[in-house]
Amino acid sequence: MKLTINGEPQEVASATLAALLHELAYDHEFLATARNGELVCAEERSACVLEAGDRIEILSPMQGG
C-alpha cells in the first residue's frame, strides 16, 4: 500500500508501524513516531495497524536551540 513517510510517498508491504520500521531498516535506531499527526509510542507500534494513505513521521534527536 502507499503511505507518505516523512513527507515522501512510498509503497510498502508492512501491516503495522513496527513492521514498517523493520521493512525500512530503522531497526535499533532511537526514534519517535507519529501516524496522521498523532504520537504512536514505542510500545504501541506493534499494535498500530497501517492503512493506505497514512502519513507517517519518523523522527530522531538532533541539535536544537
Binding site: E29, L39, L59, S60, P61, M62, Q63
Partner: protein, 257 residues
Amino acid sequence: MFEVYGETFASRFLLGTAQYPSPQILADAVRASGAEILTVSLRRETAGNGTGGRFWDRIRELNVKVLPNTAGCHSVKEAVTTARMARDLFGTDWIKLEVIGHHDSLQPDVFGLVEASRILSDDGFEVFPYTTDDIVVGERLLEAGCQVLMPWCAPIGSAKGPVNPDALRSYRSHFSGVPLVVDAGLGRPSHAATVLELGFDAVLLNTAVAKAGDPVAMARSFAMAIEAGRLAYEAQPLEPRDMAVPSTPVLGMAVFE
C-alpha cells in the same frame, strides 16, 4: 541556585546544542559553560543513517538534563504532537514550547502558545514557553499551567541583546517569585550580565556561543558574565542618579584661601 519545576541547578546558563563547528567543540563548549540544562530538538530521520542516535549518545555522555524544543512549529497541533513525540523519545516531561508566528522575525504566536501551553500542562508536561516580554501574555501562560516564563530580549539569533530593558525590568517586577529565563536575542556576555543584574533567574542561548570564533572560550565567558550578573543583583546595585554625588567625603577639607 536556580529552581524550576521542583529541581535545583547550580548553573543559570541553559545552552543550545545547534550550529557548533563539530560535535567535539559542542562537548567542550558545554563543559566550559558549566550548563546543566541543554536544549535539543527532533527532526526526520533517514533509514539506516543513525545520525540522531549518535548525537543522543554524545549528549548523554555530558550527563546533563535535556530540554527538548518544538522549534520550527507554526501551529498548536504541530507543537503539541512534537512535544508528545519528544516526551516519548527523551523520557522527560520538560518541553521548551515554541509556536512561531512569523517566518522572518521568528516572533512567537502568543495566542497559539497559550493554547498549546494549556493542552500540554493538562497532559502532564512541564512547559517552558518561549514568549515575548508582554506581561498580559505572561499572565495567561501562568494561568495555562506554566511555572516558568521565557521572554525574548530580541529576535532569535539576532545577537542584539536587550533592546527594551524597561520592558524586561517591568516584567521582572510584575512576576516576582516566578522563575524567569531570558531566551533568545543575547549576543554578548555583557548582555547576559545585564539581564541577570535585572533579576532574571537564568538565560538560554545558543547562536552567540556556537557561532563565535572560539565557542569554547565564549561559553566560559558567558558563564562568568552570568555569575557576575547574578552576584551583582544579589548585592543590590546602586540606582542611577541625575546629579553628581561626591564619592570622597568633603567634611574636613583644608581651606587655603
